[in-house]
Amino acid sequence: MKRRITEYIFVAIAATATAVVAASLIAILWSVAAKGLPSLKWSMLTQVPKGGYYLGGGGGIANAIVGSIYLGLGATALALLVSLPTCLYLRVYLGRNPLAALVRLSLEVLWGVPSIVFGAFGFTIMVFLGLRASLLAGIITVALFELPIMIRAMDEVVKMVPAELEEAAHALGATRFETATRVVLRQALPGLVTGLLLAFGRGIGDAASVLFTAGFTDNIPHSLSDPAATLPLSIFFQLGTPFEEVHRRAYASALILTILVLLASALARILAARFAKHTWR
């Protein structure tokens, strides 16, 4: 009887916790959609801010949408270039070497560092390299912010690739590099895509890391050296005004950002399912 009561208590706690998580997500989506949808107009998506936009004037936030997409894609691509070799090196070459544990510990610490610190660090690099606030500086900073997230997410996936697969490839005379790129990578691909888009979602939604580095402009960036507006900063500036109409547009902007992140998550799921076709289970 005591064991059964313990079971009931555990189920009740677990169900409540799950309900809290689900309710929080629904509440956030509902609040953003309810306040943002009425103000969401086609012109918001297609036009850049016109004079006095932040005082209630016309125009839209196409500059921030495009800036965020450029920044998110650029930073994620840059982070991927570093993350993928790192996680393969940790698994295939370092294995149980203490250095691998040290690298993982460092990445966990970096994951916990607030994004404003990455922003400040990015600003230091920017000054050192003689860059001004630009899309490139923003991309580098957001890539640094995404790196620990992406590597740790990918590392967990790559760690789960069965050792027998590596052994099977080695038994055919494959080198470690061939094993890593042709077997381990293929088996881990669905999880790697999820890790990639998780980092993209975090990168595109972060405001603090681009505050000093990407700048802000009413124009769509045409080169890496142009400053770039981002959706999180656009929301921040709109909410900072005293005008009710601009506040509602901020919620519409937040809705657009949420939809972008949801689309990235949906794409991750579709691609992961597609790449899982050949994985060994």
Partner: protein, 250 residues
């Protein structure tokens, strides 16, 4: 009978804990040699010493000499990838690579530069040799993981054969299979010895008797007895061997 491989004064330790002690044995060319013994006696470890796969095990240290066609495979100038191509390993549990049936068999030949029509022919001929062609010829693009376990094991055999090895090592190849699939594999092994030297690890003395020409009996990391299958099963010289093959248990 000419020895294809020889094992001389072989010792193996995992993190300084001995696993094989002073093993001396000859593997005859184009015959089936079975390594038998109770669980934990070092059968798989000895098998993996024959193509240096043992070096992938953490903490493994090998001491002694293993030759292939008279050349020491632990020599400093040996190309380990080439060695593993020449001495193939079929694992206990079938492990299809995360790709299609065709790509699984093509994986090895591709590493060595095969492509186009030659590659297609290689895939087909090795699927035939492994006795699985008729079952998969219309579904070569399907995922290999969708095959049954027995089919997967024969696919792994085709994949191993596709790199044209000289010696084939089987590590308990039927232990995860049903009796029908196991019989399939045994039949393939019997055919393979026409072209390959075969070494098979099995914990089943009856299987060793069915498929092997000579038998190595290991116990607690030591070689207890080595001889022809008839000698080991009909007139064993050692008491441990008599108890094990007689089914009395040790």
């Amino acid at each position: 009978m000419k020895a294809h491989m020889t094992v001389q004064r072989l010792n193996l330790a995992y993190n300084n804990c001995p696993a094989l002690k002073d093993i001396n044995v000859e593997i005859p060319e184009k015959q089936v040699t079975a390594i038998i013994g109770p669980s934990g006696c070092g059968k798989s470890s000895l098998l993996r010493c024959l193509n240096r796969m043992i070096e992938l095990a953490p903490g493994a240290r090998v001491d002694g000499r293993v030759t292939l066609d008279g050349e020491d495979i632990y020599g400093s100038n040996v190309d380990i990838m080439d060695l593993r191509k020449r001495v193939g390993l079929i694992c206990q549990r079938p492990v299809p690579l995360p790709m299609s049936i065709f790509e699984n068999v093509a994986f090895g030949p591709r590493l060595y530069g095969a492509h186009g029509h030659t590659l297609k022919q290689t895939v087909e001929s090795n699927l035939r040799k492994a006795g699985i062609w008729d079952e998969v010829k219309d579904r070569l693009k399907e995922s290999a993981s969708r095959l049954s376990v027995g089919q997967q094991q024969r696919l792994c055999l085709a994949r191993g054969l596709a790199v044209k090895p000289e010696v084939l090592l089987f590590d308990e190849p039927t232990s995860s299979l049903d009796p029908v699939s196991a019989r399939h594999i045994e039949e393939q092994i019997a055919k393979l010895k026409r072209d390959f030297t075969v070494v098979i690890v099995t914990h089943d003395p009856h299987q060793a008797r069915r498929v092997a020409d000579s038998v190595v009996f290991l116990y607690l990391g030591e070689l207890v007895e080595y001889g022809s299958t008839a000698q080991i099963f009909d007139s064993p010289q050692e008491n441990w061997t008599r108890m094990y093959v007689g089914g009395a248990g040790i």
